[in-house]
Symmetry: C2
Subunit: 406 residues, 2 copies
């Protein structure tokens, strides 16, 4: 059994984006002295769109941001992000502190509080310490700079072991750069994750909004660490138009945004709490895409499957069993299962027609010891398909989450 936490081989480089400045610092929300607050500001108003947790228990900053981005004429100048406190389950007082946070930022930028978005992550129920926030915001306002992205990415980490940032430049000449965090409480349809993506493209709000939803379907909505869904999940995209380049090729923008979101989403799974393996889970041949998604998600959250991934045990029976109780209709006699390479190629077929093949067990075990590989479960029923990126469930996951607050 591997006890090595998964290394991220991807070098997440970044580009500055015209008109945006960022910084990260320590304001005292994290008792251990780590950086815990980040600021992203634009020198001009941005189009802003967002997607948010579907959890019915929503944190104060989620409720606050949702109201702002819901306005068709929303203009945003800054995003402030704190860790250490999720400001969730904090009632009207929590909402008041979120508003006060926006006011503090607005005072430094010289805009209205309604032009500032607020993201919080950390322990649920803890009141946001406004003395810390005020100190942090003042510090950050004096530190923001065009190449401050690595500091911002580092300051929003919680149980993450490394900062996550990425950039995409486009043939049309504009740039997208994003930061994200999230390592546990990760489920499809958002998770304990935050992401802020900015671009200097000139783009209509309606196009931006549609592009974000499509990109999220192919990235953030495809990841599972532990299946828990948080109160604070938020992905924001800000477009300030500072490049002067108007997006003419909307498909090109969609591709760039999807690529960026995919890189960031995969980085979350690679840094999943205690993860030692990154696994691409392809479900094909389902009655429809929805059924494929249901099955893929059930496999990805199964503790028995995830511990078998950890042990590198080709215990395909657990995968078939998870598919069988997912709620989606399957035919046990038409199931086929393959181990895939990191590139998606089929390496070893484990199951055909619902029964085990005469596969090479030592080879299968060796394959599963690798840090990155995949599985394909074909249901043999139709054309429905789904892809989920997930990780294993290790001793380290239990250690991290048995000790989170203490």
């Amino acid at each position: 059994m591997s006890n090595t936490i998964l290394e991220d081989k991807t070098v997440l480089s970044f580009h500055s984006v015209a008109g945006f400045r960022t910084a990260g610092t320590h304001c005292g929300l994290k008792p251990n002295g780590d950086n815990d607050i980040a600021l992203v500001i634009s020198d001009r108003p941005c189009q802003a769109v967002g997607i948010f947790t579907t959890n019915q228990v929503k944190a104060a900053p989620v409720l606050y941001d949702q109201a702002i981005v819901a306005r068709p004429d929303a203009q945003v100048r800054g995003v402030i992000i704190n860790t250490g406190s999720a400001n969730a389950c904090t009632g009207t007082d929590g909402l008041a502190r979120t508003r006060q946070t926006a006011q503090l930022v607005a005072g430094h930028i010289g805009c209205t509080p309604g032009e500032v978005l607020v993201l919080s992550t950390g322990v649920i129920g803890l009141p946001l310490d406004m003395d810390c926030m005020a100190r942090g915001i003042t510090d950050l306002a004096g530190q923001v700079r065009p190449d401050g992205w690595p500091d911002a990415a580092a300051a929003i980490m919680t149980t993450d072991t490394r900062p996550k940032l990425a950039s995409v430049t486009t043939p049309e000449g504009y740039t997208l750069t994003g930061i994200t965090k999230g390592a546990g409480m990760i489920a499809p349809h958002m998770a304990t994750m935050l992401a802020v993506i900015v671009t200097d493209a000139v783009i209509a709000r309606s196009v931006l909004d549609k592009a974000l939803r499509r990109a999220a379907d192919h990235s953030f909505n495809r990841i599972v660490v532990d299946g828990d869904m948080s109160t604070n999940d938020t992905v924001l995209v800000l477009a300030n138009g500072a490049s002067g380049i108007t997006v003419k090729d909307e498909a090109g923008f969609q591709a760039a945004l999807t690529e960026l979101c995919t890189t960031l989403a995969q980085a979350i799974v690679r840094d999943g709490e205690g993860a030692t393996k990154f696994i691409s889970l392809h479900v094909t041949g389902a009655a429809d895409d929805a059924a494929a998604r249901t099955i893929a998600r059930q496999i990805a959250v199964s503790p028995l499957v995830k511990t078998a991934f950890y042990g590198g045990d080709p215990n395909w029976g657990r995968i078939l069993a998870a598919a069988g109780y997912s709620g989606a209709s399957i035919d046990p006699d038409t199931l086929a299962l393959w181990l895939l390479g990191a590139d998606g190629s089929r390496v070893i077929q484990l199951v055909e027609g619902g029964h085990p093949t005469n596969y090479d067990e030592p080879a299968a075990i060796a394959h599963m010891q690798q840090a990155e590989w995949g599985i394909q479960l074909d249901l043999g029923m139709g054309d429905g398909a789904a892809l989920v990126w997930t990780c294993d469930l290790s001793h380290e996951y239990v250690t991290i989450n048995g000790h989170y607050r203490t």
Copy 2:
């Protein structure tokens, strides 16, 4: 963080039941030499009823037994139970081996194969070794005796750490005795668990069937270890009438069967894979019972909640978050949460109106270090309620399931 696996304080004593004889032995299905096969026989035909996994991937013995107990005139003389191989995902060959197993038993008892039920548990996909089965059945046929229950209970263990058997005697004078196994892959609505319960009462099949379903709703369908649902789950009840006592008080029979099933089901959770804590999870004030069950189940399967239980961390935010994404409708502002004693009494209120109370954190931590306690989540919406028994998610769970087959 406690690393002590939960001890079962309950002494599971048993009574012999008139007309039934049992035994357990080693036939070679388990490479480590542990006992791996058990036989229960009745000296006369029994009424037989059963409930089975709802997993669409059903093991051969499940399909076989379902067909038998579905017949209104079903008469059963024996139950053979093996571990080491689940005989699931084994196709028509698997079904043939189940039938052959029944034939072997029938030959020793002197009945028809259709009067023998077969239960299997263990690794999925492994063909059942019929040489082992034949040897084991021959040995068992020579060993069965009225007080063989502890041996039978021990022989059906897989990752269980101790045998699980219990008895109830009734005012009317008949007896019920049952054995069960199951430690992982445990979810509501059956799990990787098998149970065989026998009684010497004279009882109509229709009454017995209804009583089993009600008893299971209050026992086996209330337990969660890891939320996985197996291909082999089966609970059987056999009534041979050997006491000569006809059940007149049907409510009394129901109460006795429910008590027995509850004892056995709780024993499974107390012996849950790696379990260090036994937790009773009460959800009250839901819109209806179905919503309460959905929420209770989501809390019970949440890895973040279960690791917080393991660490003894009163991280109530994770419980509220799990309720919020369960799919059942809740009002975040009317949630209340208590830590309960092992007797169900309220000890510490953690949340009121969706916000944390000013509770005594060290006292809450100390309470959660105990081996047995509960939580109550009241939704403040209606009269719906549900009760689930569950355990924590420990390092040992990961060790057990990362290594199961190797």
